[in-house]
């Protein structure tokens, strides 16, 4: 995935959200998948071919994305469902969307003022690596890189100014 230009001023103003994003992500994996995330890590974007997205609107406008590889996505779905799920199946896409949705919800409920003033969209899941995201307004991007079963994952929050 290619990112658009960042706004340094906006990026600085929300850096305190990074540990909250990480906590929100770790909690989702612990409570819903029964596993601990490792990291942070410095994984390259090239290994990610599934991205789930949830839009935010209200006091914060933007999009939260969750990216990982097909193998780790299938493993996540298998852990959520407690049965083996094949790569690329409908259940994998559904599980990734729900993980992203729960991270976004858990994150906004932890940030003072966002729980009440920010709505979430239903999730969208993109498969493939060769795409670009373009924001129509200046945006800042916060990102955390962790490991799930030694496989990289990335959670990114792009907010519009």
């Amino acid at each position: 995935m290619n990112s658009a230009t960042k706004s340094p001023t906006a990026e600085r103003s929300h850096q305190d959200w990074v540990p909250i994003m990480e906590l929100a992500t770790r909690e989702v994996f612990e409570m819903m998948l029964g596993c601990q995330l490792e990291g942070p890590t410095m994984a390259e974007n090239g290994s990610f071919d599934i991205t789930a997205m949830v839009g935010l609107a209200g006091k914060v406008c933007g999009v939260l994305t969750f990216s990982c590889g097909g193998k780790s996505a299938a493993l996540m779905a298998s852990k959520m469902l407690r049965v083996t799920v094949g790569e690329g199946s409908r259940e994998v896409l559904d599980a990734l969307g729900e993980i992203c949705n729960m991270i976004a919800g858990n994150f906004k409920n932890k940030v003072a003022g966002l729980g009440e003033g920010c709505m979430l969209s239903v999730p969208t899941v993109i498969t493939g690596k060769n795409y670009s995201m373009h924001s129509l307004r200046d945006s800042a991007t916060l990102e955390i890189r962790l490991q799930f079963e030694s496989l990289p994952i990335v959670v990114s929050l792009r907010t519009h100014t």
Binding site: E27, V28, M31, M32, A77, M80, L81, R82, R90, E91, D94, A95, G97, E98, N101, M102, A104, G105, N106, N109, G115, E116, L120, V122
Partner: protein, 127 residues
């Protein structure tokens, strides 16, 4: 006590997780019905009596709040207890859901213990 449950969520994965969490909470499920949104759920309830409804809020077609509002018009289901399960954990959402008739509220992500704490009192008829 054997329970017939209706689980409403646009995610089939989440419906299965909710069902598993109910069983882990020690609830004896004799029948589990599923619906992908509030409108589907209302259609299911026309022909299928249930004892408990677990409902997501943020769904396409008909969301959980609208579903709870319309449930009062379904003769054979208007008194069935509803527990909301959602990522929308704000106080105003909780108040709105409860004021519309929901009996409980579980925030995603959740543990089986949290499901048990919310659902068992509702099944016992406690406020």
């Amino acid at each position: 006590m054997p329970i017939r449950a209706l689980i409403i969520d646009d995610s089939s994965v989440m419906r299965k997780i909710v069902e598993r969490s109910l069983r882990q909470a020690g609830i004896d499920l004799t029948q589990v019905l599923e619906a992908g949104n509030g409108a589907e759920a209302l259609a299911v309830l026309q022909a299928n009596p249930v004892d408990l409804i677990l409902c997501d809020i943020n769904m396409p077609v008909m969301d959980g709040i609208q579903f709870v509002k319309q449930l009062s018009g379904v003769a054979n289901a208007k008194d069935v207890p509803v527990v909301m399960i959602t990522t929308e954990g704000s106080e105003s959402h909780v108040v709105e859901a409860l004021s519309c008739g929901a009996r409980g509220y579980i925030r995603k992500p959740f543990t089986p213990d949290q499901v048990r704490e919310q659902v068992l009192p509702v099944l016992a008829g406690k406020p």
